[in-house]
Amino acid sequence: MADDLPLLILFGSQSGNAEDLSSKAAKEAKSFGIQATIKGMDEIKLEELSNYNRILIYCSTWGEGEMPDNAEDLWQEAQGDSAPSLSTSHFAVCSLGDSSYEFFCQSGIDWDQWFEKQGANRLVPRLDCDVEYDEPAAVFTTEALSHFAAVDSSGNYDSTKVGQEINNEESSNNIEVNDEKSEIPVSTGDGIESFLNSGDRSLSILFGSQSGNSEALASKIAKQAKSYGLEGKVYDMDGFDFNSLSSMKRVLIICSTWGEGEMPDNAEELWQFAISDSASKLDGVFYSVCALGDLSYEFFCQSGKDWDAQFEKLGATRLVSRLDCDVDYDAPAATWSLEILPALAAVDSTGLYHEEMIEEINAFVMGESSGAEGEDGFSVPSQITESVQSQITIFRYDPISASTGTDTWLCALPGNISILDVLRQLKNTQDGSLTFRDGNPDDPNTAILVNGRMILPGLVRLDSVSPIRNNLLKIRIEPLAGFDVIRDLVIDPWAAEVKRESSKPWMVAATREGENTIQGVVGTMDPLVATELHSITDYNSENILYSSSDAVPFSKEYLGPAVISKLWARRKDPRTAHSRINEIDDLLGSPIGIIAETDFSSIRRHSENGPRIAEALLESKNSALTNNGFNGRHGKHVWWYSWSVKSSGRVNDTVIYRQALGPGGLLRNLFSGVTARMIFGFTRTGGRMFNGRLGMIAPPAGIGKMPKQFNNSVKNHHQVVAIFNELDGRF
């Protein structure tokens, strides 16, 4: 690892993009164990370049292939005779430009060639970025840094070390996730161990609790603190001597809120003392606050906020920002504890805070830990997983300003955490305004779309949600399609709910016979029928199934696959009354029923049970078409398609076109440009003008892309006819 060699990040920038990329690269370099120095090209002299063994260049191009203003002088100097030899240096160039200009990325090309000319070793090929440079530049930077990390302290490059020794602990924008880690350099040296075990290691955890949640959480964190060499002691706020805090070094406050922002009963007295003049100063105290509350109340987490502000006012030092928890506090509190405990552990026995030791403490704790102690005394084994370099892009929608867009984070995260945990982490550490539906892992309302895949985010691991390519997982998180978006990833299921309700999904049972039992007559169902009915409605989220139809977003009235699959199950249920079956048939065959589904393949590909549900929907469509006697456009399409295949073994588009559309439809297509695009299609691709002799005899048939009017039969066509006759005599 080349940790004692500086990496020079040199930028030539006109509008700030190259400088911005340089800053990002410098941050990311830390995760490769590289210290980076950023310099503008106007901040360095040419001869100084030879002081650096590793040089990463970001340079934009200006005007007609010119250097940006801040690079011009250096470039001119570089053209002189005094240019230094860089034979011991390694370099990489990322060039920014605009492909609509003739001299695309010329400045970067110039620097790339210049460094090569001076004898420097190019570690990775130059990247020429167009105006959309974010993603390619991010990939380039990661790759370049992994190569720079393979340069040893003597300046020698060892390609076999590329990609090794990557410290994934810290992301480029400092998202820290400490649930489970791997590849973190584990320090088992005596230094850190003795630090964690020497002197005063007390941690005071005060709880203010009304229902017991704060107390339970305080106890849990006290147990957890042992791993960090801390002796956690839990104090009830009731009867606690506030002024004793001034002699303590590490304090945690865990406090719930009661009523209209009030302190819980056991905290009220201590609070009154804390805000009185008798309260002593807390200058040497390091602290943090975990506030429990309920978002549905106006004064959310008010007690915790009050404690936080008062401690600060009295001179205590906040190590980690206050955590405000909603009713589901477990996960965020667990994350918070993993952030605050190493920080508190980094406070030594003399009361000095060693921020620089946090990483080492974490590494030590994770490396030494054989497992977390479960509540029931069992030891839970640590789960070791690869960290994943991730680029996470999330759809954002702000209903107040009615603005949409995306936010992107680059970070390293443990691969085994769920997508829901990723969202929680981003919300807790990066952007509190990020909005998504939280809940249990299998909560169907949490469904989102990730890289075109509809998932329940609590059930899908980060490292399995999409392929990891070039050591980077790029995911794009969006709300489900077909629903109105309330904010960010939160959809409004109301439209689907209204359709479900309008379909009268409840059972209207027929009178039927059953088995006589000692409890009376009990209706029975054949197990095979029961299994089949269950399979039709066996899906984990109605919202996902609703959204799996690509027709739903474009057809407001269409009931959608979720409603129709349930209707079809009712239709097939032997307990359903005949009158209800007739109603269901009418609904399925109506314009908002299964006829409105344009393509089953999109439903088939989503969810584990997609093929079975698509098959059930197909059955319902077959039933609807049969009941309608293959009338209407859709019926005619299906009928004449099948008929033409029976006739020749091939599809006759002309027959289907005429029969399904009728004269009116044909006329409309004639004037809507459809026919014209068919006829003149050959001019656009340079194909043949005439597609057959018909073009000469009966145009427009046979011209351009107009389909054939008459088909030659496939070889052994009689076999096809025989199959039709055997299986479906209707055609």
């Binding site: 690509d550 409105a596 009928w639 289907i656 299609g681 001019t683 656009r684 199959i723």
Partner: protein
């Protein structure tokens, strides 16, 4: 050694898109693929026949599959919909021995054929990436396709077990192939969504909106064209894009070309067509 496949061109190549057959033949010759046309093969049903009678479409496709088996080669197709339909029925037959026996009974009586279920159905895209290799393809390129290209997969092919080693939801084969041809692949969301082919006659307005949405997504990401791996979807996006524009009021003009066409252009076949295509892009962009 040459790769050998039986060949099913799909409905569109047979009827409304002669350019597919014009281009796929020389492309396969260049790639060293020997094609054996199945003269007896029927339409794959395009998911339409099964709406009338599922067993009928399965049996027709079982006949096509059995014919390919008698050649001893897997089926190659340039159409994602054909691939999807044949594979869907093949999967059902493989998974259900009773269904296979029932279908074989019909095939034996009507066509004197039997399906074992050993044949596979492959798309030209998967054969190029997995069997031939992108490095080799890159070396074959004579005319680099220096355009921003949106690759369209469609939903038929992107199903578990149908798309080779590519990812079902976040595929990359087409983008990698475009890069190998010298093009710049565009990152866009709609590349696997349906453009509603089976519903074009009955649900025209919905389908036209689907088409418009797909094309607009590609355009908004800077694509100069869409390359479609589905010949059936190509027809929708190409022929109906003007009408889609009228319905939605949005500018949906964008050149849509078949995968086989761009391969042919890149490999140096049909240079005059490429010249016309370049002119079309430069002058009208439509």
């Amino acid at each position: 050694m040459a790769l050998k496949f039986t060949f099913h061109p799909g409905n569109v190549a047979h009827s409304g898109a002669p350019e597919v057959m014009d281009t796929i033949i020389p492309v396969c010759r260049t790639l060293g693929i020997d094609l054996f046309p199945i003269d007896d093969a029927t339409s794959c049903g395009a998911g339409i026949i099964r709406q009338a009678n599922d067993l009928l479409q399965i049996t027709l496709n079982a006949r096509t599959l059995a014919l390919a088996e008698s050649f001893g080669y897997d089926i190659l197709t340039p159409c994602a919909a054909t691939l999807g339909n044949l594979n869907e029925d093949l999967t059902k037959l493989r998974d259900d021995p009773l269904l296979l026996a029932k279908v074989n009974d019909v095939l034996l009586r009507t066509s004197n054929l039997q399906l074992k279920g050993e044949v596979n159905v492959r798309h030209i895209l998967h054969v190029m990436v997995e069997d031939i290799g992108l490095e080799k393809i890159e070396k074959m390129v004579k005319n680099p396709m220096k355009f921003k290209i949106a690759g369209y997969y469609g939903p038929n092919m992107q199903q578990y077990g149908f798309c080779g080693e590519d990812d079902v939801y976040d595929p990359i084969y087409l983008e990698e192939l475009i890069s190998s041809l010298g093009g710049i692949p565009v990152d866009w969301n709609s590349r696997t969504v349906s453009v509603g082919v089976p519903g074009i006659y009955s649900e025209e307005e919905t389908v036209l909106k689907q088409i418009a949405s797909t094309i607009l997504d590609a355009k908004s990401q800077g694509a100069q064209m869409i390359v479609s791996s589905c010949t059936l979807s190509h027809t929708m996006m190409d022929i109906y894009q003007g009408k889609a524009s009228r319905i939605t009021g949005m500018a949906t003009n964008l050149p849509i070309i078949h995968l086989s066409e761009i391969l042919s252009f890149a490999f140096g076949h049909h240079n005059s067509r490429l010249a016309q295509f370049r002119t079309r892009l430069a002058v009208i962009g439509d």
